[in-house]
Symmetry: C2
Subunit: 302 residues, 2 copies
């Protein structure tokens, strides 16, 4: 089924113990789209400057990624520069230049308005809401990502958007900050009162935990020998998750569990190379093989 994502498309400069790149395609929507398009067609809503060329866009071509919703305007594309610590567990943001992203007002092409699966990437909650307002009728699933900045600065707007959200996808710290609850189970119950009936807590190398009001599901991080660049892991997780769910077309315990696994699979591939490089060369066969490895990694009999 049709999956729409709104979020950043950016250029990143990244430094990790494994290397350095000065300008590589990044942004949540880029990682999300590449991951999700392995499962279902994806419609992207975003904004770029006139430094974003056909060459930069090439990685999206030949995939089920609709770029009609990416607005091209004069100016520079969102730029982010960051450096990871030796153990990759800490990240320092060196530069954030919003550029054209500062004036982003998402506008859906007419044929996007029937989207039934929607992912609201980590942007201003007011803009997230504006996307929902442009969609015809009630979407089947709305997933949402957010961060400390919006939790602190726009709590009322975020609460309003959460009322229309089915699946909230954030990390441990954000879960605690949003709810004021230290314990994640109590935090989840708090979140259920805000709107979402499913909370997906992303935990980086420790995997992800889903708390649904009727069940829980945990998936580990895939143990990798080489992590070259953690950038985009969470967005690739979200893409794999929402892509698998939209591809299933219906929400139940089984499709949600499977979405968690494919989210982890895509997140685990994303970090193996710099930027979107690994996602750009990923095959469906590799995805299936790793999904089976997740099965071997977690199966037991009592």
């Amino acid at each position: 089924m049709s999956l729409l994502v709104v979020g950043s498309v950016a250029f990143d400069a990244i430094e990790t113990p494994f290397g350095k790149v000065d300008r590589t395609l990044g942004g949540a929507a880029s990682y999300f789209a590449l991951a999700a398009s392995q499962f279902t067609p994806v419609r992207v809503v975003g904004i770029v400057g006139n430094d974003f060329t056909a060459k930069d866009e090439a990685v999206f071509r030949g995939r089920r990624i609709d770029l009609a919703g990416i607005e091209h305007v004069p100016g520079k594309t969102f730029f982010w520069a960051g450096r990871y610590s030796q153990n990759m567990n800490e990240r320092t943001t060196l530069v954030t230049e919003l550029n054209v992203f500062a004036n982003f007002r998402p506008t859906l092409p007419a044929d996007y308005c029937d989207s039934s699966f929607i992912f609201l990437g980590n942007i201003d909650p007011t803009l997230q809401s504006s996307v929902l307002h442009q969609v015809n009728g009630k979407p089947k699933v709305v997933g949402l990502d957010t961060m400390n900045y919006w939790i602190e600065r726009t709590p009322a707007e975020l609460r309003e958007t959460l009322k229309h959200t089915h699946i909230l996808m954030i990390n441990d710290d954000e879960t605690r900050q949003l709810t004021g609850e230290q314990n994640l189970m109590r935090a989840a119950r708090h979140i259920f009162k805000l709107g979402p009936r499913t909370l997906v807590i992303k935990r980086g190398e420790h995997g992800a935990l889903m708390v649904h009001d009727k069940f829980m599901f945990s998936v580990p991080g895939y143990p990798l020998e080489e992590v070259h660049d953690p950038t985009g892991a969470g967005d690739s997780f979200a893409g794999g998750f929402m892509g698998a769910l939209a591809s299933a077309g219906r929400i139940n315990h089984q499709t949600l569990r499977r979405a968690m696994v494919y989210g982890s699979v895509l997140g685990s591939f994303a970090v193996e190379r710099f930027g979107v490089e690994r996602l750009a060369h990923l095959t469906r066969r590799e995805i299936q093989a790793r999904a089976r490895r997740f099965s071997q990694l977690t199966s037991f009999q009592l």
Copy 2:
């Protein structure tokens, strides 16, 4: 099958956001024995002072715990005092009084010497080795715990003991420190060269990861609403793990996976109350119910 544990028996003073106790039974061997005895008979090798009374010992009675290997000597029992941070993720040691433990020289009662499953708790590697020397023949499984102190101070002795160890059970940081490898998969391969063919990495609330030279298995931490006291979680994990394994009597992929789950089950119960209180009142029925919950927590179909 017969399971022997050597380790500390102690009195603990513990402070967490949920309360405070001034003197409660503690020590790795205590948690281990209470957890493991749910699955198999346990023989305990340790040392206590004359402040350790029949009343203190009462919690072990009526269980399959053999205390003949606990030496009673004049003096005070090992005492530890610690305080946990608000989020329970950090622990400050306030007092460590080794007392009679400083002169501990483990001596096995004659009828312990046929033990086929052995767990060497976190003590001086030379003492760990001395226990193995007292055992007749080759034990079926030797599990070992250690810590930064021994990794730094007695590396040669630890290496010697590791040669005779099948299963090394330590945390992330200890794994990295022991091997000098940041990446846990590469660290595991390093450890395989030292002796153990199975590495169990304990990750607290994030569960545990087993890396065997032929397969990997991951078990999540059980999502709990109330964690009152994390003390002894790792030792209870080790007890559940080794107890389940000794009870199965043989080592294969399936029994090792199941041991991981029962380790996590026992660790998750241990933290629900202060000290050994929860383990002291735990039933086999509760254990089975939570093991099934681990199954629900991790099951999926591709």
